[in-house]
Amino acid sequence: MKKFVKLSAAAMLSMALGATAVAAENIKIAFIDPLSGPFASTGINGLHQYQFAAEAMVNEKGGVLDGQNFEIVPFDNKISPKESLIQLQVAIDQGIRYIAQGNSSGVANALTDAIDKHNRRNPDSRVLFLNYAAVDPALTNDKCNFWHFRFDANADIKMDALTDVIAADQDIKKVYIIGQDYSFGKAVAAAAVKFLGEKRSDIEIVGNELHPIGKVKDFTPYSRKIVASGADAIITGNWGADMLGLGKSVIENGFDGPIFTYYAAGSGMTAAFGDSAKGRVRLISQGEINPIGSEEARQIYNAFKAKYPDGNIDQSRIFNVIGMLAKAIEQAGTADDVVAVAKQLEGMEYDSMWGGKLFMRPQDHQLIQNMHVGVHTDENIEFDYDNSGFGILTESTVEMASMDSATTCKMRRPE
């Protein structure tokens, strides 16, 4: 009986894994992100953006090299590091050489570590890691490696730009920092303290605290403390339900200053904030949506909305990933030799359709780009989020943010 079960299990295995021999000439990109579970909406929306970007920017223009198309192959990692490593192995076995992932720095850490080891142990099937959203600074500092490229600005760069804006606002005298109790929340808090101290030593940090991640049901006690501290502004790196809960709660309990955030838009959050957060929630991001960067971007956005009426382009850098990868493959003349492609990506300058120049810094593989601070509002919004009428309107821009920032990365390159 046991044997029978094992055999049938085996048959299933071979069906699922064996039938995936590389059929077409497509260049495959494995998209390893949560497609089920609590973060599925972010993952699925990201997948749609990838698929759309690959179609619109590469395949409809005749592909790369001699007409090879990009194909995005989705893998559900359930936002678990363990599952991500299994899916990575499956992807590599399918002959995929490009791995895209973004949600959760924990997963990104596991992946970059595993990819580094895999590439060392298996020089025949090396892969590149296109990190489009995990912003833990360590990934391009202590934990950097040649195979990892980050297309989003890291938490420090974002905070550098954000504190530029805060420092310019003379009304802000007291700041409250609150975040989730894990590496990213701590990195945000440390960066905020550091940059505020450098730029405006007169600003008093009236609170700096961490709360358990994803466990807080009611933010009221925190809001009370924030109101009681007399803060003029809040800085938080919260995301998901923690962001929404905190934002709604502080506004409801009478806080009336700006809330500076990293991730307070899209995925239903803009709709849920609605009118209550108008002019209050501010967001640091790359890629301008309102006003839109170029006519090409406008057409792409409209086409995207026509295809996915419920979706948002809330990660416009995905289009940069596809564009830059296509350019690197063209320049390298091959898609199979990832070392050659990586060498093209290093130091690449690229004009983004969302506006501005992009520069992949060779010493740590961190993309340098313009950063924008926008406000949650319903005025002058051409492209809203969640079909709510509300969106993010750019208020200020920091050009080529942190271009010369230091890095502790000691990149080891393959010969």
């Binding site: 609590p38 599925a40 909406s41 699925i44 109790d181 605290e209 961490l210 709360h211 358990p212 994803g214 466990k215 807080v216 049901k217 009611d218 009221t220 006690p221 925190y222 009370r224 403390k225 109101v227 009681a228 339900a241 929404l244 809960g245 709604k248 409801e252 309990n253 009478g254 995925s267 239903g268 959050m269 709709a271 849920a272 609605g274 969640d386 709510s388």
Partner: protein
């Protein structure tokens, strides 16, 4: 001083909400011995049903109809699911509810999607009811307090003054004897399960707009409901109320005041290691009470179970 008063009110709201959930669970648990893992899922269903109804008929109809619907679903689950599994014993029952919780979450995602839905509080309850120095007390919170007190009163009346209540109370303590006396215990079970889940539904309807309505809302609340009834003691409504309030205030105050481990440790005579970041104990030294506020109830439960296995007010073992 005002802040303490405000925190007491906030803690009361949290506690009463928790009580509404645990009241139904403690009835179900003590009567049928079922650790209903899906109880928080019924709370979620309440919120989603109310959201769906409120888009057509407004918030108040949602408040009225959604709990009834949840109760009907709950009774159906008991009649066609649990009763069948009951014969196999308690562990399969528990795993049934475990699987049910999974299934309900997946169904909710299937029907309403993965994102939070814009379920809003009614306009009439927007804004502050009154202010204590500079702190707003939202009108909606006052409404929540009143509604839960009314429900607690109603429940108390039904349980102590009516015939049905007497039977339920008897069945809580001596289920076999009640059956021997000729009462239709399966029917009572179904009724209690329906009412218990309906109570969870009410909690969901009123909590949905403030704690946001999303597919993970059941999991976030999940096991804390068990903690409440275990601390309070099995089958004791008063115990459930007491434990819910304790948890509400404990977590609220732990979050509202930054009690630092550093102060405690130096207070009892330890010396702070320098430099701190290099020490193996740095995590302990930098610990603050808001970080651990939400796990305090679990600590409390473990301690209570070790030293007083029948909870604060319970008469028999959990």
């Amino acid at each position: 001083m005002e802040l303490i008063l405000v925190n007491i009110i906030d803690g009361l709201v949290t506690g009463l909400l928790l009580f509404m959930l645990s009241a139904g669970l403690t009835l179900i648990f003590s009567m049928m011995g079922v650790l209903n893992f899906a109880h928080a899922s019924f709370y979620m269903l309440g919120a989603y049903f109310a959201y769906e109804i409120s888009t057509y008929l407004g918030f108040w109809m949602g408040l009225l109809v959604a709990p009834l619907l949840v109760g009907v679903v709950g009774a159906g689950v008991e009649r066609y699911g649990l009763r069948r599994v009951h014969q196999y014993g308690h562990v399969p029952e528990l795993i049934f509810t475990f699987g049910l919780a999974l299934l309900i979450e997946e169904l909710v995602k299937f029907i309403w999607g993965n994102d939070q839905v814009p379920y809003q509080i009614p306009e009439i309850l927007e804004g502050a009811a009154f202010t204590i120095s500079s702190y707003n007390i939202p009108a909606y919170k006052v409404f929540m307090i009143f509604l839960s007190l009314i429900i607690f009163g109603g429940l108390l009346y039904v349980l102590t003054k009516t015939r049905v209540g007497m039977i339920i109370q008897a069945a809580l303590s001596y289920p076999r004897t009640v059956e021997a006396l000729g009462h239709n215990v399966p029917l009572v079970f179904m009724g209690v399960f329906g009412v218990g889940t309906a109570l969870a539904g009410v909690a969901g309807v009123i909590a949905g707009p403030v704690l946001s309505t999303f597919p993970g809302m059941a999991f976030v609340l999940g096991s804390i409901v068990f903690v409440t009834i275990v601390i309070g003691g099995l089958g004791s409504l008063g115990g459930a109320l007491c434990a819910a309030l304790i948890i509400g205030w404990l977590t609220t105050f732990a979050k509202a005041y930054n009690v630092r481990m550093e102060d405690i440790l130096t207070g009892i005579g330890f010396e702070k290691p320098e430099p701190l970041w290099d020490s193996a104990w740095s995590d302990l030294w930098t610990l603050t009470s808001p970080q651990i506020a939400d796990i305090l109830p679990y600590l409390l439960m473990v301690l209570i179970l070790v030293f007083r296995p029948y909870g604060l007010f319970g008469k028999r073992d959990v």
